[in-house]
């Protein structure tokens, strides 16, 4: 089903009104907008109620027509005042009294039809199709189908780039974050409403602050899942600015959201329990604020033999494919970061006594050495001889000798 809105001299209002109801909108002409209303029945009721809702939303007198055929709706909106609902199959009957000048024909075809005394849609619809085809060709056939409300053309979605930007110039420079937060809140609420009106969400938030006697302060917040909650945006912005303040009074604020389709999620009884993405993102931002972003996330192993090689990636609560669980039970190492320097007495080629901060004593037993080296072609090569040792405190440690410096280090303990 389609609904056409027609009013003279207010094209932006018509577009805004249509987009409030449906993301699929066509700008048929400067004074006519067409939208798909399939699926709106659950929200607004019958086609007539949808048409009434559209007219009320516009706030000015407009013509609204609802029909199963896109062109029939457009012609009805242009030719009939107020609200028109054309039941399926009744298009020709409803359109019959409309004047022929509403049809988009060429001047030659219009002249020919005028000469034949054809003045309305109904008169054109009643002509024999074969005769029309013989005299006016393909164009005539198309015009006749339009007059019967049977054209059945494709809907042309309006794909003009929509930007979600807000700019605000301040009357006087603002230095504190708190008054800025009020302004952010207002701007983000407006942006979120505009996103919601187009059934969109945002996956990036760009902030630009023009500063007094300093270069502009720019930051980008990348969100792991599309959101449109202004409170979540505001909290993330506050955390970002408290971690990295602008450094000078703010003269102008620019906010831009990157629109994307919203997240769709099917909840189920047997799905994995996971933190709510919006809440999680704010929690992670708060943690990063006082611990540093490099200390919060998911460890990802790096494909190398270098000891303690990993990098921290952003934690997203998404179920990922799992490798098979390793067989057997390997001893678990707790690492000392950085490794603790140790004084080691070697006897018969094996560590015999160790002294390292609070640890001191005879090595009761040892196993090794295991040699590992690599990255000799880089500026950070490593060359270790590793030992597993048992100390009198009853604990087991990993000890290594750095072959490049001949110094000993405690790398961690087994637990």
């Amino acid at each position: 089903m389609f609904a056409a809105l027609h009013a003279s001299g207010n094209p932006e209002l018509l577009l805004e009104c249509a987009r409030y109801f449906s993301p699929r909108v066509e700008r048929t002409s400067p004074d006519t907008v067409l939208l798909q209303i399939a699926g709106l029945e659950n929200l607004f009721g019958s086609p007539h109620q949808i048409a009434e809702a559209l007219a009320n939303r516009a706030g000015i007198p407009i013509n609204v027509a609802v029909a199963a055929d896109a062109d029939a709706a457009v012609h009805a909106a242009r030719g009939i005042s107020g609200i028109t609902v054309i039941p399926p199959g009744k298009e020709a009957t409803v359109l019959a009294p409309l004047p022929l000048n509403l049809l988009p024909g060429s001047p030659d075809a219009a002249e020919a039809l005028h000469a034949w005394g054809i003045r309305t849609f109904g008169q054109l619809a009643a002509l024999p199709p074969l005769g029309i085809a013989a005299r006016l060709g393909e164009e005539g056939v198309h015009l006749q189908r339009l007059s019967r409300g049977e054209a059945g053309r494709q809907f042309r979605d309006l794909l003009d780039p929509v930007t979600f930007e807000e700019h605000l110039e301040l009357d006087y420079p603002v230095e504190l974050l708190e008054p800025l937060s009020f302004l952010f809140s207002r701007m983000l609420t407006d942006l979120a409403q505009r996103l919601a009106s187009r059934a969109l969400a945002a996956n990036e938030l760009h902030l630009e602050l023009a500063l007094e006697a300093a270069p502009p302060h720019r930051c980008t917040l990348r969100l792991p899942v599309p959101m449109r909650d202004p409170a979540a945006f505001l909290k993330l912005l506050q955390l970002e600015l408290s971690a990295r303040p602008p450094g000078a009074p703010v003269l102008k604020i620019g906010l831009r959201l990157n629109p994307v389709p919203p997240r769709t999620q099917q909840h189920g009884l047997y799905l994995a329990r996971a933190p709510e993405p919006e809440k999680l993102e704010i929690t992670l931002a708060r943690l990063s604020n006082f611990l540093g972003a490099e200390n919060v996330g998911t460890p990802k192993l790096i494909d190398t033999h270098r000891p303690d090689s990993f990098r921290i990636t952003h934690f997203a609560a998404l179920v990922t494919k799992m490798a098979p669980q390793p067989e057997g039970e390997t001893p678990v190492l707790r690492r000392f970061r950085p490794p603790k320097h140790a004084q080691v007495l070697v006897a018969a080629g094996r560590p015999a006594h160790i002294e390292c901060m609070h640890l001191r004593g005879k090595v009761l037993d040892s196993s090794g050495p295991w040699q590992s080296s690599g990255d000799w072609w880089t500026r950070e090569p490593w060359d270790h001889k590793e030992w597993d040792i048992a100390l009198p405190d009853g604990a087991f440690y990993r000890l290594y000798e750095d072959c490049r410096t001949t110094r000993w280090f405690l790398e961690g303990n087994y637990d």
């Binding site: 929690t283 006082f290 303690d308 087991f396 637990d415």
Partner: protein, 194 residues
Amino acid sequence: MSTAAAALRSSIQADVQTKLGPRFDVDFGFRSKLQQDLLPGGIPRGAFTEIYGPPSSGRTTLMFSALAHLTRQPEFCAYIDAADTLCPRSAAEAGVHLPHLLWVRCSGNSEHALKATDLLLQGGGFGMLVLDLTGVSLRDARRISLASWFRLRNAIEKTPTAFVVAEEQLNAASCSAKQIRCRASNPVSRPGLL
């Protein structure tokens, strides 16, 4: 020539086997047991469990077994590492599915660790939260007030999250619903390797 080649080959083979073979065959013997009765009987959800014991008593093995079990359910878990001692490779070898694990490194600051725990508990949605205080000095661990432990206990109640604190000695006293003591009694079960 053939003798020299054979000697060289055996030398290289021995070297490679040394490098690639098992290096320290300690069996704390938790995993097979835990996979059967970790939850709900072993570590309760919606409550606070303390795992304590001296170094090399198997506390980390116990926690990794629990994390491996839950991250493969699949659930999401958080590891608040007060002293930054977690070894991601060891965790992966113990079966923990790392993409389902949030690691929070606090660089030895137990106050930050408590604050992070509080935030994550309030956020909710995790299957298990581990607060690892084992690398923190006993003095710092004891400085954590009873009020903080009570607050954490109240935050975890009525949630489906299991909250585990690993430490050298009991600190939370009556706040914890369960205390698991690990002993360092002869963990090496296969002699001859040390």
